[in-house]
Symmetry: C2
């Protein structure tokens, strides 16, 4: 299933930069970065739970924000991308 | 239906700041900001088309990135939020 993860990490206070890098690195282990603070992770339920646990362990709930969108297995026609892109999977997304 | 919009606007070149403000302002007319560059818009198909057209008109496709996720009408159990939040609709999201 596709799990979309979006995050805002507060980098204005000490430790924010390190958390931001850890969040990104953790997401990179499970999926692809589609925008600066947006990852798409094609994972099973077990992997999704592990990923979530890792991110919740890294984040500071008083300073940061993380959102999970569970898009299921039939997500390919639900996503549209416009403009520049970097390393996301061309097969998974309608490019316009 | 819920349309999730995520964007990266390149603000390192002239005009980027203005585009960023226009993108955010346009999204605000249709939905709620849930993170810095993430909006959730509960719209019908006609509104979704208008919103998309407006954003595509604003963005610079050579510099910016906008993604649309069409989450349909049964989205409430597909979204989880952790950490800080600002002005998003408490009724629409599982708060954990």
């Amino acid at each position: 299933m596709l799990v979309l993860i979006t995050y805002d990490v507060n980098v204005t206070k000490a430790g924010g930069g390190a958390r931001l890098r850890k969040v990104a690195k953790t997401c990179e282990n499970y999926g692809i970065r589609v925008q600066n603070s947006v990852f798409e992770c094609n994972v099973d339920a077990s992997q999704a739970a592990l990923l979530k646990a890792s991110l919740l362990d890294i984040m500071d709930k008083d300073l940061d924000s993380i959102r999970f969108y569970y898009l299921g297995n039939n997500y390919k026609n639900k996503i549209e991308h416009y403009g520049i892109h970097s390393n996301f999977d061309m097969k998974e997304t309608i490019i316009l």
